[in-house]
Symmetry: C2
Subunit: 372 residues, 2 copies
């Protein structure tokens, strides 16, 4: 492991010692990437999600994201998933890192309204409901159990696993889970929007909790009920996969503040595997002043956070440059898979090479499909 | 590789030299087992299938088979899938071999009416129709394409792949595909029944072909249409998986005469990978006088056939002993996974050990769930 590269490419904002050790454990090893997709009606509350050109289109974003990874183009929509301002999905980061390091991957459908035109694993979930209603996920226990079986089987095949997600509205449901479990999360979850709508998110969460007859922290000991009331199908499938795989191999939970919700579930459901787990994210999440991943994680379990030092400030494309203004920031495992790609190739590629590949892929996509 | 063990445990009824070589290639290597499940309405034609206590129950057999592999008991039915005479599913062989050699596995749903209570991969298929109607599978090309992507991704994870199947009525649809493609298959496909209903199967196939406006051999150059007219969703998903994985790693096609149909599809769709492929089956198939696997395969492509020398003649259980009378014979990849388990452990276990494990598992199952 060349510490020189690591210092440039990886940031260690939390629990650096164990983070460095983790990187040395996965250095040169072969990962599997799993992308967990789901939808939640919560994303359609106006002002909640920018993971789609408009709220109705958020149903298509998870399917389109994984289609992009497999086919290098989307099938269920024309063009790419973009924010209302036209900023492209972080799946273009993920596809570029997967490609450069030839990392195999599998799609897990935790409950989506629009199914991807790809092979995908079903774990018994259905699309999430609007958490305002106080009933979000029907069968979290069954989803957890099946995902756990899957994670445990996949763990026999590879050195370690990286898990990412795509679920529009996911930071609001993450806030729901965290508040239900009594974690001080207000003002701490991230957003794909330039202006993080914290108070709207909190209002939605509190409406849902109240509708179900709970107050903040009432579900401290009961993550499954918390998921069923104000969570989403992605987080419980994700937690099940980590629980199943983490017994035997290292796991990178690849994402932003939603990973705190997954961690809170795991802290209760499967705490013994957490020394085998880190959060892999992007610099944009770490530098985001409107959210606080470290502040969330430090309340739950002191697992390392490692951030990929991706930088689009010199990009030729305004769509990518916008990431530097704090739009999008993370998703589809972008940060974690970047860390994994660099580690797999033992630093033979770095963040700059990945950014070049992203620019190349984005250029090709723009040529094929005019993104308005 | 100890040739002593191999001579006892493996039979080489076809292309022995390449078969021996293949075994030496996989000796001590780590496989993934994939079980492809599907249903076809064809199984409900009275007298066609014994893979269920009665024709209606055949819808449950594939789901119950894979549940047995994962949970060591079925969830969607009480007891086990059995023939009308109460002879148990070959999944008990598969579960025992998987267990002894700790082989990871994945379920692929090519199109089932009853879904298993397990994680499973979807490849875009729907349950097969009755081939009598001359329209059996809606979208074979899409199923093939998605399965190919899956096979290609999974091939990056393991040394080699073993693929098995569970689809009641599958030998009739196999006959359909083979006849449509002009292969001399009459009287050559196997049956789970003690008396192989050859003439009924042929009548059903010819009815379907005629209904669709084809004669025998008309679809020699067109396996996709052959599948869509008189095939089933399993065979095309199976072929896609082999096509995707076989580019990079060895593949054991684990099954009986249905593997000839898969081979015929591959011979046209992806002939270049066939030197990386064998058929793994059971002694019961090879010794079956009412079918002719070698006679089918030799017409298509001379890939090796290797049979696991499983023997239930000394079993304490009449349900297992019945296999020696030619009931059931094969299914759920039983033969191929037995070969794979022995190879993975470099002959440290043999067919006898696997039979002991099967007896133990069967005993436990009988104790839990009285099989009437």
């Amino acid at each position: 492991m060349t510490s020189l590269n690591i210092a440039k490419d990886f940031l260690f904002p939390f629990n650096k010692d164990r983070g460095m050790e983790f990187i040395s454990e996965i250095w040169g090893r072969s990962p599997l990437f799993i992308c967990v997709i789901a939808t939640t009606e919560t994303a359609k509350i106006p002002g909640i999600s920018a993971a789609g050109k408009n709220p109705e289109l958020t149903d298509y974003t998870p399917a389109a994201d994984v289609e992009l990874l497999i086919y290098k183009e989307c099938k269920c929509i024309k063009g790419l998933p973009v924010t209302p301002e036209g900023i492209p999905t972080p799946a273009i980061i993920t596809m570029s890192a997967l490609e450069l390091a030839d990392i195999p991957f599998i799609v897990v459908d935790a409950g989506t309204k629009i199914k991807p035109n790809t092979p995908y694993v079903t774990v018994g979930g259905e699309p999430g409901e609007n958490i305002r209603l106080g009933r979000a996920v029907k069968n979290p226990e069954e989803i957890f159990r099946r995902s756990c079986i899957l994670g445990s089987n996949l763990a026999k095949l590879v050195d370690y696993i990286v898990i990412g997600e795509s679920i529009p509205g996911g930071t609001t449901t993450a806030l729901g889970l965290l508040i239900a479990m009594g974690i001080d999360a207000e003002g701490k979850v991230s957003s794909s929007m330039p202006n993080n709508p914290h108070s709207l998110k909190e209002r939605v969460v509190m409406e849902g909790l109240t509708a179900a007859g709970y107050r903040k922290g009432d579900l401290k000991q009961d993550p499954l009920t918390a998921v069923s009331v104000v969570g989403d199908p992605m987080m419980i499938a994700f937690a099940g996969l980590v629980a199943g795989a983490g017994k035997n191999i290292p796991v990178i939970m690849a994402g932003g503040t939603q990973m705190a919700a997954v961690l809170a579930i795991l802290k209760f459901m499967k705490p013994d595997i957490l020394d085998n787990v880190i959060i892999g994210t992007t610099r944009w999440i770490i530098e985001d002043e409107s959210s606080d991943l470290v502040g969330l994680v430090s309340q739950i379990e002191k697992i390392p956070i490692i951030a990929a030092n991706l930088n689009f400030s010199s990009s030729r494309y305004s769509g990518l440059k916008a990431y530097e203004r704090g739009v999008v920031k993370e998703g589809v495992g972008a940060g974690g898979i970047t860390i994994s790609a660099i580690s797999k190739l033992k630093g033979k590629i770095n963040c700059k090479n990945i950014v070049s590949k992203i620019e190349e892929n984005y250029k090709n996509l723009l040529a094929k499909i005019p993104i308005s």
